[in-house]
């Protein structure tokens, strides 16, 4: 991982987020999201059952496990993006702070503003770099131009993109490289000042160098945001996460096998399946 380290230190002075926080915020875990007995069906087909865990404020929680075991489904239930999928039903309870996210009276747009999401494939809108950030801000009621400019500058600086794009903010976002597009998507999410960021394999579509830059960025988001990240890269999970959740298919349904501190899960897994998966035997 030499490229990762060198890139991270090369861009370190351009970030304004605080230094990496390894301990304090996570020493006294306070749940920001509490998931109780979550189940999820696509039509009649169950995809996920009996999942209960807490996501702790300010920490990075990694979701690991083989493809098709419901990690992405789990993620999309947390901001109710699963509502968009025809025939998708979610059971159980998800509490965000003191609100039940399935409360019929909940402000869904407000919820999704507070729980941002980054997708596997970078998906900037076919707008200019500036408009990608400005349009969501305006839709959420930020109107003053100086305020908009400042928030956009801050978000782009936070993701380390400002120096690369500040002289071409009106160029098409789709003209950026893959890694830049993904960082723009992260900027687009954090410009709305969310509390939680859901990331669905944010590095898997990127080349190794861009992936290292994005990984370093995610590390820097710790503390300020709560991050839930799906990753197939176990080494990455181990490097960045405070907590890890291991999912596995049992009787064709995704189940949570083990959840705990990342180091414990990797070094002293309680479950044999976890141990085997981490050792690369049945992954």
């Amino acid at each position: 991982m030499t490229p990762s380290l060198s890139t991270a230190s090369a861009t370190a002075d351009t970030f304004t987020l605080g230094p990496l926080q390894n301990g304090p915020a996570c020493c006294i875990p306070t749940p920001i999201l509490s998931i109780e007995n979550l189940s999820l069906h696509y039509g009649d087909k169950p995809a996920l059952a009996e999942v209960s865990l807490d996501i702790y404020r300010g920490c990075i929680t990694a979701l690991i496990g083989p493809s098709g075991c419901g990690k992405t489904s789990f993620l999309s239930a947390l901001n109710r993006l699963s509502d968009l999928i025809p025939g998708c039903r979610v059971g159980g309870r998800i509490r965000f702070g003191d609100a039940d996210i399935h409360d019929p009276a909940i402000d869904l747009q407000g919820l999704r503003r507070k729980i941002g999401m980054i997708f596997q494939k970078p998906n900037p809108f076919p707008l200019s770099i500036r408009r990608n950030l400005e349009m969501p801000l305006r839709e959420h009621g930020v109107d003053r131009q100086d305020e908009l400019d400042e928030k956009i500058r801050q978000a782009l600086t936070d993701v380390g993109l400002w120096d690369e794009v500040h002289d071409r903010l009106d160029a098409p976002a789709l003209g950026l490289s893959g890694g830049q597009q993904q960082r723009l998507c992260i900027a687009r999410a954090i410009v709305l000042e969310p509390e939680v960021l859901l990331m669905d394999e944010p590095c898997s579509a990127l080349d190794p160098l861009s992936s290292a830059v994005v990984e370093a960025l995610i590390q820097r988001l710790r503390g300020r945001y709560t991050v839930v990240i799906v990753t197939h890269n176990l080494a990455q999970a181990r490097r960045i996460a405070n907590y890890a959740a291991f999912f596995w298919m049992r009787e064709k349904v995704g189940k949570l096998v083990e959840f705990g501190r990342c180091q414990q899960l990797f070094d002293m897994p309680r479950d044999d399946l976890t141990a085997a998966y981490i050792a690369g035997i049945s992954g």
């Binding site: 901001n79 993006l81 968009l84 025809p86 869904l108 747009q109 407000g110 919820l111 999704r112 503003r113 941002g116 999401m117 997708f119 494939k121 998906n123 809108f125 076919p126 707008l127 200019s128 408009r131 349009m135 969501p136 839709e139 959420h140 009106d170 160029a171 098409p172 976002a173 789709l174 003209g175 998507c185 687009r188 999410a189 709305l192």
Partner: protein, 288 residues
């Protein structure tokens, strides 16, 4: 691998394909040019400012096409004003369901395809029975325009709907994940991204409406006076051309000239339509 050197691949099939493709394109472009040339040859001499603004005399043999141009534009305006908002709304509604692949959406699509293929004379009879008689509009520009709107709608809806369905889902999910309303996603992303399809649908519709004769004879009629309101009867250009070439001896030159004007009008209106969709939709998005 010596046998690969010095022996070019046999190019018979490729050559045949090349000839077929170029031949096909030449045939299509050639027949359009021949048609345009024929119109220019027979009709250009007759087209003048007077021809465009004067009222027709002697059943159109002499005089101009002023009132007819006015009626044509009025009928088209009524048709577009009715069809565009309705069609846009239907297409948006429909594209929400077709992406889910529901049975209802497939049946609505099928019936739209059938409607798009219904002969225009049938639309004319329907328009006469419904707009002229039941709604009491009589032979009028309003009745003709609304009948044309019914004809344009299926083409326009299908075109816009396929454009919206082609917009990548990741933008929809991205917009939803940012807490944007559906209206915002439509306004900022989906409609602008579908602008080429919207503009294509509009042009197909305008072309069909301007060329229509059968549906208008029964609805907007063929009175060639200058219309004073939308409830007056008015003669469309296509109806005028039909009348001149079929019913008026010695009307051929005027028919050619009118056809030439019709084609120029079609090109002009299409470029205006394209500019408008470009200004209001396409320029909102920014592609590399």
């Amino acid at each position: 691998m010596r046998e690969l050197i010095g022996k070019p691949a046999p190019d018979g099939p490729d050559l045949a394909l090349t000839i077929a493709i170029w031949g096909g394109a030449a045939l299509v472009a050639g027949s359009f040019l021949a048609l345009l040339g024929d119109l220019l040859w027979h009709g250009a001499a007759r087209v003048s400012w007077d021809f465009l603004v004067m009222a027709p005399e002697h059943a159109g043999k002499t005089g101009g096409i002023g009132p007819i141009l006015a009626s044509t534009v009025a009928i088209l305006a009524v048709a577009l004003l009715a069809a565009l908002p309705l069609g846009l709304a239907t297409a948006i509604w429909l594209s929400n369901f077709t992406r889910g692949g529901s049975l209802l959406a497939r049946q609505v699509n099928l019936s739209l395809d059938v409607l798009a293929g219904v002969p225009s004379i049938v639309f004319g009879l329907f328009g006469n029975a419904f707009f002229s008689v039941v709604l009491g509009m009589g032979f009028s520009i309003a009745a003709g325009g609304l009948t044309l709107a019914c004809m344009i709608l299926p083409i326009f809806i299908r075109s816009v709907e396929s454009g919206l369905s082609a917009v990548p889902d990741e933008w929809r999910r991205g917009a939803a994940a940012l807490g944007l309303s559906q209206a915002a996603a439509l306004r900022h992303i989906l409609l602008p991204a579908a602008a080429p399809a919207i503009s294509a649908g509009m042009m197909l519709g305008i072309g069909r409406a301007l060329a229509e004769t059968a549906a208008l004879i029964f609805t907007s009629g063929y009175v060639d006076r200058m219309p004073e309101s939308l409830l007056d009867s008015g003669r469309a250009l296509a109806v005028h051309i039909y009348d001149l070439s079929m019913n008026v001896t010695g009307g051929d030159q005027a028919a050619y000239a009118s056809a030439l004007v019709l084609i120029v009008l079609l090109l002009a209106i299409n470029s205006v339509a394209q500019t408008l969709t470009g200004r209001f939709l396409a320029r909102r998005i920014s592609q590399p």
